[in-house]
Structures are given as structure tokens and as C-alpha cells.
């Protein structure tokens, strides 16, 4: 029998398991296996190997699910508590911003009055006012970035 027939049979034996073959190919393979002992042995060995692979059983460690469920429960409590504190934190920032916006005209007048009293240049006053606005935002951004890094590290 020519070698290429055996090669085709060998390829079909694998392909049938991996991605399936056409009905005509299956018929050809069955006919070939009836007449070729070597390929029939190979097909049998392959099917046995896959059968054993499917049949292998592994004992689970004792209470694996229970221990995992407990760890997951602890972690979810931790997440919930972090989320609560996160909401509190962002709520405080939101409130401080709202108050900042509402009180901005008064604060600016206060800065102006103090500046005139102390003879501070207008540019310096504007910079101080900008800082008064910018520092809380920078702190908020810093906390947010730290928190993000902490989550990513986990």
C-alpha cells in the first residue's frame, strides 16, 4: 500500500478528533482501517488515549470550595467597606467643591481686601486665589491615583 495512503489515514485520525471530518472522509478512513492493521492500531491507541484522558478522576482537596467561599466572602466585605469609604471621600470632595464655588465671590473679595490692606500686587493675589482652588483638586487627584495603584497591585 502506498505511503501517502497511510499518511492520509493518520492525518484523518487526528483531524476527526480535533475538528471533525466529512462523511466521505470517514467512509474512506473506515475502509482503510479495515485493510490496514498498522493504521487500525494507531486509531485504536489514539481513541484509547483520549478515552483515558476523559476518564481520569482527581480527588479534590478537602473543603476546597468552603475555604474558597470564605476567602471570597472576606474579600467582598473588604471591597464593600472600601467602596463605602470611597463614597464618603468623594462625597466630601464634592461638598467641598460645591461650597468652594458658592463661596468663591466672597473669598475673592476677602483676598482683595487683605491684599489692598497689605499692599500685595494683584498678580500675587490671583496666584494665591488659584492655589486656594487648585490645592484641594491636587490632593483629590493624588488620593485617586494612590487608590488606583493599590487596586492594580492587587
Amino acid at each position: 500500500m502506498p505511503d501517502n495512503l497511510h499518511a492520509r489515514a493518520r492525518s484523518l485520525i487526528s483531524r476527526e478528533l480535533v475538528e471533525g471530518i466529512e462523511a466521505t472522509e470517514r467512509e474512506w478512513l473506515e475502509r482503510h482501517l479495515e485493510t490496514c492493521a498498522e493504521c487500525a492500531v494507531l486509531a485504536g491507541a489514539t481513541k484509547r488515549a483520549i478515552g483515558s484522558l476523559r476518564a481520569i478522576s482527581i480527588p479534590l482537596p478537602p473543603d476546597l470550595a468552603g475555604r474558597t467561599q470564605f476567602r471570597v466572602y472576606l474579600r467582598s466585605r473588604e471591597i464593600r467597606s472600601r467602596e463605602r469609604s470611597g463614597w464618603l471621600l468623594w462625597g466630601s470632595f464634592g461638598l467641598s467643591w460645591a461650597l468652594g464655588i458658592a463661596s468663591a465671590p466672597l473669598v475673592w473679595r476677602g483676598f482683595e481686601w487683605l491684599g489692598h490692606l497689605a499692599g500685595v500686587p494683584n498678580l500675587f493675589l490671583k496666584m494665591a486665589f488659584g492655589l486656594w482652588w487648585g490645592v484641594p483638586a491636587a490632593v483629590a487627584a493624588g488620593i485617586w491615583m494612590l487608590e488606583k495603584r493599590r487596586v492594580e497591585e492587587r
Binding site: L17, V18, A49, I50, L53, I56, I58, A65, Q69, Y73
Partner: protein, 193 residues
């Protein structure tokens, strides 16, 4: 109780969208059910990949912690187990990277499960299983992995590709090569026995 019944029926019906919604909510009852339902398959997958029962146990727990943390990333388009195995696989790769920082493709390392006696050997009774385990243990992890996903987990080629984050063509070629190697190994183990 109502949530539990809903979660359970969603799981049974393979309703991945409902699962995704539950994971986004971090529904504790749903997670408990999923851990119960997938414990065997996930542990087996990790055990075959790592070759160590202790490591597999640690990674099993880590996988579920990650499912909790990143549940919002599961969109319900693919099967849950595909996503679950992909998470577990990433954890194995991360662990290997920490052990061998110079080797990024460490899953290919054949010594990965031969570093200690195969846990499968310890528990198996049947001779054919032992032969198979020996043969599997000798295969490089990349081939062993696809064989397990295809023939133990019965995942489709596209699903295996999603777990591996690799093209279907790569999955196919690894499967063919893995089958060939397994046949050879089993033949040698059989002859040696």
C-alpha cells in the same frame, strides 16, 4: 432566596448575560454557586498546568478572588468557563514569571510539572491512567494544556483560542502536535512497562 433561585436557574440555563449581571453586582450567592459548580474542573485544569497540588489550591482561590474583583469585565458574550480558565491561566503565567523572570513563555517549559512527582500519579490506581499521566507529564505544558481543554473540558476550538488568547490556527497546530506527541509517549511508556 429568590436571588439564589434566579442565580441557579441562570447558571443552569447557561444564561451568560444573567451571570454577567450577577458578577457585576458581586452577588455572593452566585459566587458560592459558581465555586461549587466549577471547583472540580478548575482545580483539575490548574493541577495539570502547575503539576503541584499546593500551587493549584492557592491559584484556585486566587482565581475566584480575581473573579470577584474583575467580575465587571465579564460581558457574557463567551461561556463563563472560557473566561474563568483564561483568568486561571494568567495567574499561572504570572506565577511562572515571578519564578523565572527571564522566561516569558514559561508555560512551554516541560519541567513545569516534572519538578516534583506528578500529583496524578499519587492518586491514580488504574494502569492505563498511570500510563497516560506519565505521558501527559512528559509533554510540554502548551500541548498538555490544549489537549486537556479539548478532550477533558470539551471546549470548542474557538473557546480554547479565547482561553489562550491565541489564533484558532495555533490551537489546531498545538492539538495535532500534542496528539502526535501523546501517541508517541504512550507507546514508549507502554513498551517500557
Amino acid at each position: 432566596m429568590a436571588t439564589l433561585i434566579m442565580s441557579f436557574s441562570a447558571m443552569m440555563a447557561g444564561d451568560t448575560k444573567a451571570l454577567a449581571a450577577g458578577l457585576r453586582r458581586r452577588d455572593p450567592e452566585l459566587l458560592d454557586l459558581l465555586i461549587e459548580q466549577y471547583q472540580y474542573r478548575l482545580f483539575r485544569y490548574l493541577l495539570y498546568l502547575t503539576g503541584s497540588r499546593e500551587t493549584a489550591e492557592d491559584l484556585f482561590q486566587e482565581t475566584w478572588i480575581r473573579v470577584l474583583d474583575r467580575g465587571h469585565q465579564y460581558d457574557g458574550k463567551a461561556k463563563f468557563e472560557t473566561w474563568l480558565f483564561a483568568i486561571a491561566r494568567h495567574l499561572v503565567i504570572d506565577l511562572q514569571r515571578r519564578k523565572k523572570p527571564e522566561s516569558l513563555d514559561s508555560l512551554a517549559a516541560p519541567e513545569m510539572i516534572s519538578a516534583e512527582p506528578s500529583p496524578l500519579e499519587r492518586f491514580s490506581k488504574r494502569e492505563s491512567e498511570t500510563n497516560l499521566q506519565e505521558s501527559l507529564g512528559r509533554l510540554p505544558a502548551v500541548y498538555r494544556e490544549v489537549l486537556l481543554l479539548r478532550f477533558q473540558e470539551d471546549l470548542a476550538l474557538e473557546e480554547i483560542a479565547a482561553v489562550l488568547d491565541a489564533p484558532v490556527s495555533t490551537v489546531k497546530s498545538r492539538l495535532y502536535r500534542g496528539l502526535e506527541m501523546l501517541r508517541q509517549e504512550m507507546g514508549e511508556v507502554g513498551r517500557a512497562g
